[in-house]
């Protein structure tokens, strides 16, 4: 890993700030070991940052975080590049904070071009890079083919939960339950009247035309569909009416229902219930 001319990098780089903690700038003579963390996304995944910071802390390495803009000449008048830069700065700030908490040094680079080429170039730069960690969105093969050092990818599932805050916020609705049930009580009363009237109409229609109904409905054959159709209509209208009726009176299922029905069941065999491992983990490819 000899030093390599990296002058062509300057022309393409968007940001070329070495972000280091105060008073701990890397000394090139010491040949400190680095972990190269690469992403092609504006925001590097937090799981990747955490993993890199953890490992760097254990091994006493430093981190070289690189954002690679793979589409620097995207045809939108530089909009994408600007957004990418903005995201990168945010991401760098976050990474720096995470690292500072663990006393780890992070240097930050903005690059552009092909991921494999950038990694190869950086590995051959004056920095001593021990291994590469890639973020999601980068193909392992692309990097591993060009990198002289091991490449790890971090597989994580936690990222999804970050975006599902909306789903989790349902739980907080419990606080507003009294007001919820009073509003739905009104809805039940309304449903009760609407479906009650419709049911009454249907019954009136059948019983005022008893002779006609009894003649045709008992004819058999294809006429069998008549009673079946009528009872389906009744089950929809009257079913909704009766459901709304009891709810309007405030008679509803026990709140502890769900818990009870699961309590009653025997426990599932352990083999069926293998817990999903959602910790970030590394995959090696040399």
């Amino acid at each position: 890993m000899g030093p390599k001319d990296i002058k062509n990098r300057a022309g393409q780089s968007i940001v070329n700030d070495a972000i280091t903690n105060a008073g701990s700038s890397p000394s090139r003579q010491e040949k400190t070991s680095f972990i190269l963390v690469v992403t092609r996304n504006g925001h590097m995944a937090e799981a990747v940052m955490n993993y890199a910071v953890n490992v760097a802390d254990h091994l006493k390495y430093r981190i070289l975080a690189v954002h690679i803009d793979t589409l620097p000449f995207f045809g939108d008048g530089g909009k994408r590049s600007n957004l990418f830069t903005a995201a990168m700065e945010e991401s760098a700030l976050l990474f720096r904070e995470k690292a500072r908490a663990r006393d780890v040094v992070v240097e930050h680079l903005g690059e552009s071009g092909k991921v494999g080429k950038v990694v190869q170039r950086l590995c051959h730069s004056e920095k001593r890079i021990e291994f590469v960690v890639i973020d999601q969105g980068i193909r392992m093969g692309e990097v591993a083919a060009q990198s002289p050092v091991p490449v790890f990818s971090v597989i994580y599932t936690q990222a999804r939960t970050i975006h599902t805050n909306k789903a989790r916020s349902h739980k907080t609705l419990e606080k507003g339950e009294p007001s919820m049930s009073t509003t739905s009580r009104k809805r039940h009363v309304k449903n009760c009247f609407v479906f009650g009237a419709l049911t009454a109409g249907l019954y009136a229609a059948v019983f005022t035309n008893q002779n006609f109904v009894m003649t045709y409905f008992t004819k058999g054959g294809v006429y069998a569909l008549l009673p079946v159709a009528v009872v389906f209509a009744v089950s929809y209208l009257h079913g909704n009416f009766t459901s709304a009726f009891w709810s309007a009176l405030g008679i509803e299922g026990s709140k502890a229902t769900v818990r009870k029905s699961t309590d009653v069941r025997p426990t599932v065999p352990a083999s069926d219930a293998v817990r999903k491992d959602d910790r970030p983990r590394a995959q090696i490819s040399v």
Partner: protein, 351 residues
């Protein structure tokens, strides 16, 4: 209103008493169905027969009211997470086959022995099934009540679940895995009984509990799906022969949909053994009722020769005992529902 022997199917006239009676019986039958998954019908078939409705029309009209009620009930109980739809549909399809067999049998009996013979056959099956299954369920309910903690699945079910016989089926809500070959006999028996006495649940629910191994809550809820599938199929066939009295069906439905909702709500409050307990209690009392109804049909067939006065008294006793069964079941359900509900509210208020 009702001749001693009617070879021709006859529809009754409706008066105010009949209408109110059917509504109330429908309500209580629905309450019981919503709670134990079936059984509205076992009360309703004899109830209609007590009004003088011929057995075939009673069974047909009953079946026609059963599937919309089962539909409404299963939707309600599905919302409480008690229904295993897959189990219900598979059992339902095979139960439907059983229904076809049962219908053929019933029509043969109607042809050979006439209306009275048909009535007697229905009553005999009633008494036999109610007594045998009812006492078994009652024994289990009492044991369960006194047992400490939750009892495990019944021994027969446990053994059957261990037998790996293709095709094995997994049911998530019921939380069990069993071969199709053990579901089929239970389903067929359910269907045959349903076609004969319009209530398959007396085989279906105990079958699901003791042979398949579902809990009584899941079993009674899933039975509603089975009842829907075979009720729909059965109704189409009875209606094809023109035996459905839609007026009776609608009157019963008017009450039973109120009941089925309340019964389903009730299951969310009570302990598991209560479902078995209510089921067994009602079955045994109705069995007594049907026993008293038999001399009437036996006389009509000239098998026995009870005095007319005695037959009338026995028919009245039969009617009274059945009302007692209805009221007992309904009151157990309602009392336990409102007791548990006020207890829950008291706990909620105390925080």
């Amino acid at each position: 209103m009702h001749g001693p022997v009617n070879e021709v199917i006859q529809f009754i006239d409706l008066n105010a008493f009949n209408i109110i009676f059917l509504f109330l019986v429908g309500f209580i039958g629905g309450l019981v169905s919503g709670f134990i998954g079936s059984g509205g019908a076992f009360v309703l078939t004899p109830a209609m027969m007590s009004l003088g409705v011929p057995g075939t029309v009673a069974v047909a009209s009953n079946m026609c009211h059963k599937f919309p009620k089962a539909l409404v009930g299963s939707i309600k109980r599905y919302k409480y997470g008690q229904v295993d739809i897959k189990l219900g549909l598979i059992m339902g399809v095979f139960a439907e086959l059983g229904v076809q067999v049962g219908i053929v049998l019933q029509r043969h009996i109607l042809e050979i022995w006439g209306q009275a013979g048909s009535n007697l056959y229905v009553s005999l099956v009633f008494v036999f099934v109610l007594v045998v299954v009812g006492s078994f369920v009652m024994r289990d309910a009492v044991q369960m009540k006194h047992a400490v903690g939750n009892s495990a699945s019944p021994p027969i079910a446990k053994r059957l679940q261990k037998i790996e016989l293709w095709p094995m089926l997994t049911f998530k809500t019921a939380n069990l895995r069993i071969s199709l070959w053990f579901l089929v006999p239970v389903a067929l028996a359910t269907g045959m009984l349903a076609a004969t006495i319009a209530v398959g649940g007396f085989i279906g629910v105990p079958g699901l509990m003791y042979i398949i191994g579902a809990t009584s809550i899941v079993a009674s809820a899933t039975e509603l799906v089975i009842a829907f599938v075979m009720g729909l199929g059965g109704t189409l066939i009875w209606a094809y022969y023109g035996t459905v009295d839609i007026r009776l069906t609608l009157l019963i439905l008017a009450g039973s949909l109120f009941g089925v909702q309340l019964g389903a709500i009730g299951t969310t409050y009570v302990k598991e053994y209560m479902i078995k307990y209510v089921m067994a209690t009602i079955m045994l009392i109705v069995a007594v009722s049907r026993f008293f109804a038999m001399p009437k049909y036996l006389n009509a067939l000239h098998v026995t020769s009870f005095a007319d006065g005695n037959v009338t008294v026995m028919t009245q006793i039969s009617f009274g005992v059945m009302c007692l069964a209805l009221l007992t079941g309904a009151s157990i359900i309602l009392v336990s529902l409102f007791k548990a509900r006020s207890l829950e509210q008291a706990i909620a208020v105390r925080g």
